[in-house]
Symmetry: C2
Subunit: 405 residues, 2 copies
């Protein structure tokens, strides 16, 4: 039982493969692991026995570097939620034993940490102590507890800050009132939307208004806010989260459309930006408006990752292997921030039960008084996470990626 | 009358400022020009006398390099179309004379070349021969005649090819049928949409289906096309132009929405992707679908420009100054392709009358037989244009930009 299994779950990020690279690299260098397997499509694929041997693919560093710069889950993903069905757990343990897996490292977000917790609880209850199960965080949403931030967030924030700066260059060119409405991911947490404010780090423009799900959205107040900004300048950029809700707790997007529910019972969202765009159009603001969605690009833009994020992602992966080899189980690697300026972190590990199923939202004291923008505390928090550029290898004009299945 | 005026017009690109840098750099180095002015907001701003002296700002190369890497029109833009109103022409000439402008270089697309033509015709008819008026092409749409391609297209194509490759990494992670619908700019010409095919240059995925405005869009055939692709793979990416029309010549976006008309009488479009997404949802294809719009990012993503495009943009700008100083007027700088492999071009100049008001669309023989994708001729044409990476200067985690007004 000296083999290691790594798998990925949930919505991809542009550095989730850097974490996998950190895991594979650490596992390669220790003499305690025989074979390294990749589980395809997360826990769902593992149940189906979809394990591929990846040791040889990464025998040299060339492919490991390609893996590091390939966005999204190279092993595929799933949104399968473990039910309280004993047969499923038995099936998983069967597969792990069949492949001689002593160490299972699961890279994912909140729901994936729930899987790590449940599976390790099952092992504990059934006295299976030769399989160590560890979680490594990832999510652009940055909504996990205890860890200072999550891998994936810094790169998404860098993409968003850069894109916001570029959109400002575009929106300001015409000499007429224009309001850009930038919809950013974030169902319940406003971290990503807040990162648009970093477009101003070099003294340039930053969003005039920022609306996040932690603050209820008031339509009348909103129109007043925009009016005030238009009185100051001819171009206004509003950054807002897809998960904005009104005072009755109704998602703005639900006001125009009825969407489905995913396997986790989350409502599937889209369209808060469109709704707000429509609000502006039907107002008396007398401006043009342009809606922009950062869509999948904000989590897939591997060509503009944060070097800080890449390095931390690798370290968190390595930490999970290190702890598993030391005999620990049911933990998640975390980042502890020692200081912001100079930026200094420690990579550590905690009981996954402390993390799973909690959502970390934006502290309201990191917003301005009117709660329609961020303040310097938020900037100080995000700033170090977007620092550094990764030296991406291009071939034939585009970044080179690796394909594992 | 030895001063030079540069101005920008139409929709911005991520290298329109590289052209301006090429103009300023050439003008600085010759001893034939006294002052360099920038006209704000294109011809509209010039009519209003909005000229700023930019000679000193660019006295060192640092700011010239920042200008090169700043996306969108640093001097602002306009969509003002010159009418046949003598008073307007007199006003423009008045302003040019007042500022001692002997050379006016206008960077823009089709409509801007129309301005260059009309203004130089006016000068000719009124024996004003001490003002040379030159055009330099720019447009991500690549729809200008005579020049092999337009500056701005290569960088947009590089962004689109890269983003398409990244989106493929994202779309394929889940083990269930999914169709991505990628809407790309292009009212009447499919060049940009075609460039999504370059995502496959390293052997990776490229769009399963590509629909451009040059081919009428048949809904039934479309559903059949998608069905065939889904039979081969669980993830399908469709790239399509915003300007798709049905067999009656009706824009797909008009089928769902009624939009305005811009100053040039063009219909303002959006929503072909949304329409097609809806088509898939209401079909019996049994797949999920996800619409993605590249929106303003495809013309503003200055952080991922093509080095080839940057270099050519500068050379075209310099050529216009060179020709103007030699006494020519009413010309537009062009790129002549000598060969694709190895890629070799000549920078030249032609009578702007040959270019203005014509639109260059995609030759149908560069598409596959079914006209739902491109063939190797298109790849060969676009390939050299996306080559090379520009060494962008980052500061505090994002690319540094310059602001001129």
């Amino acid at each position: 039982m000296n083999n290691l299994l790594v798998a990925q779950s949930g919505g991809p990020t542009s550095v989730i493969n850097a974490t996998m690279a950190g895991i594979v690299d650490y596992a390669k260098k220790t003499n305690k692991i025989d074979k390294i397997y990749g589980g395809l499509h997360g826990i769902k694929g593992i149940i189906g026995g979809q394990l591929i041997e990846i040791h040889k693919i990464f025998s040299d560093n060339k492919n490991l570097n390609l893996l590091t710069q390939t966005p999204s889950s190279a092993l595929g993903s799933s949104r399968y939620k473990l039910k309280d069905d004993k047969a499923i757990y038995e099936k998983i343990i069967d597969v792990l034993k069949r492949f001689g897996i002593g160490y299972f490292i699961y890279i994912g977000g909140n729901d994936s940490m729930d899987t790590v917790l449940k599976l390790s609880n099952y092992c504990r209850e059934n006295s299976i102590d030769d399989i160590k199960i560890m979680g490594v965080p990832k999510t652009i949403d940055n909504d996990l507890y205890i860890t200072d931030h999550t891998p994936g967030f810094g790169s998404a924030a860098k993409y968003i800050a850069t894109t916001t700066a570029e959109l400002f260059c575009d929106l300001r060119v015409y000499d007429m009132p224009l309001v850009g409405v930038l919809e950013i991911m974030g169902r319940n947490a406003g971290w990503l939307t807040a990162s648009a404010a970093l477009s101003g780090v070099n003294g340039g423009d930053s969003p005039n208004l920022i609306y996040i799900p932690e603050v209820e959205f008031d339509e009348d107040k909103f129109i007043e806010d925009v009016k005030k900004e238009l009185a100051k300048t001819h171009y206004v950029l509003i950054a807002l989260s897809e998960g904005l809700k009104d005072s009755d707790g109704v998602y703005l997007c639900e006001k125009t459309s009825k969407k489905g529910i995913d396997a986790f019972g989350h409502k599937m969202l889209s369209g808060a930006g469109k709704y707000v765009e429509q609000l502006i159009k039907s107002s008396d603001l007398g401006c043009r408006t342009r809606g922009i969605e950062l869509s999948l690009m904000q989590r897939a833009a591997g060509h503009i990752v944060s070097l800080t994020d890449i390095e931390e992602s690798k370290l968190l992966g390595a930490k999970a292997v290190e702890r598993a080899l030391e005999g620990y189980t049911a933990e998640m690697s975390i980042i502890i921030r020692e200081s912001s300026n100079p930026y200094k972190v420690t990579i550590s590990s905690v009981d996954v039960a402390k993390v799973a199923n909690f959502e970390k939202t934006v502290p309201l004291e990191w917003l301005n008084e009117e709660k329609n923008n961020v303040n310097e505390k938020m900037i100080e928090y995000i700033y170090p996470l977007i620092q550094g550029e990764y030296n991406t290898l291009y071939e034939n004009g585009i970044p080179k990626h690796i394909k594992l299945f």
